[in-house]
Amino acid sequence: MINLKFFFKGFLCIKRFDSPAIALSASFIAIGALLKNLGFTLQESIFSTLLTYAQPGSLVMAESMFVGASLINIFLAVWLVNARLYPMTVSLMPLIKDKSQPRWKYYLSCHFVAVSSWLIVKDNYHKINRKNRTDFWIGIGTSTWLVAIISTLIGFVSADYLNKNMMIGLAVINPIYFMCAMISAMNNKTISSAIILGAVLGPGLHLISSQWSILLGGILAGTIAFFIGEINDN
């Protein structure tokens, strides 16, 4: 059902020195501590990371609960901040799918799509035969997901020992790591324009609408970058 050799090959990608494990772990330790302070039990916190596995979404959930938002509002806010997972999934699946693999694997493993696993697989998929890429991806997804779950547990347990400054230190690790990872990914004109324009338009549109800024900024920046790429190639 799953080729274990390639599953573990993917699973162990997290061990590399510059893997996103550190950033992923820091952000979910912060989530674990935050959920404890919000009144979640340990089981609820673990359950939350297990089912959601997207840090910005969990943060929005926590903040919405804190201000007493309605369920509809929580749904909308989380959907808007996590909508990036849609283009991320579309731009991943065609690279790993193979006719020999059953469809359920894609619908199940798409739960693992998050910035860390996505960057790892985008960097490494070409080294694996197409036939084995799905299992390789499931391995990457499983290990990053486990790191998030274990970190939530660590954060929950150590919440009482984490002071404000440590929480702020933890909070900066994740965006700084991924900012540098994004700069690393800028290896052609199209992707570089997408990243630079996104980084400018996202916060830019935040001044107009905070909820819609990522989605609208992303669509606008990505579309302009696409046309820059097409004109450049022709």
Partner: protein, 105 residues
């Protein structure tokens, strides 16, 4: 477990999973060499960049208690360390947390 919290967790995970689900659904007919694929690839990088840069410039949570100036200084130092260490991802990340802790008070 309280019902309210469970409900919130389920709503949050549903709101997250639908984007992933429709991602797989949409990609079923998409070839990696097609134009539409290239567009989605641009959208993926640009929305990620939009999110990360918003997290640093207009953060929510604990980071929002720091000043914008401090965060911009940390961004610039981190990018410098990133290039000085031959594009290493770990050093700027660790240094950013240390510098943040040192400059915060």
């Amino acid at each position: 477990m309280t019902t309210k919290i469970i409900l919130v967790i389920l709503i949050t995970s549903l709101a997250t999973y639908i984007s992933r689900f429709f991602g797989v659904f949409t990609s079923e007919k998409i070839n990696e060499k097609s134009r539409i694929y290239r567009w989605f690839n641009c959208l993926a990088y640009s929305t990620l960049a939009a999110l990360i840069s918003r997290m640093l410039l207009f953060p929510s949570g604990d980071l929002s208690e720091t000043t914008l100036l401090l965060r911009v200084i940390i961004i610039l130092i981190s990018i410098s360390i990133f290039y000085l260490t031959k594009r290493n991802l770990v050093y700027p990340t660790i240094f950013s947390a240390i510098i943040m802790a040192a400059l915060i008070n």
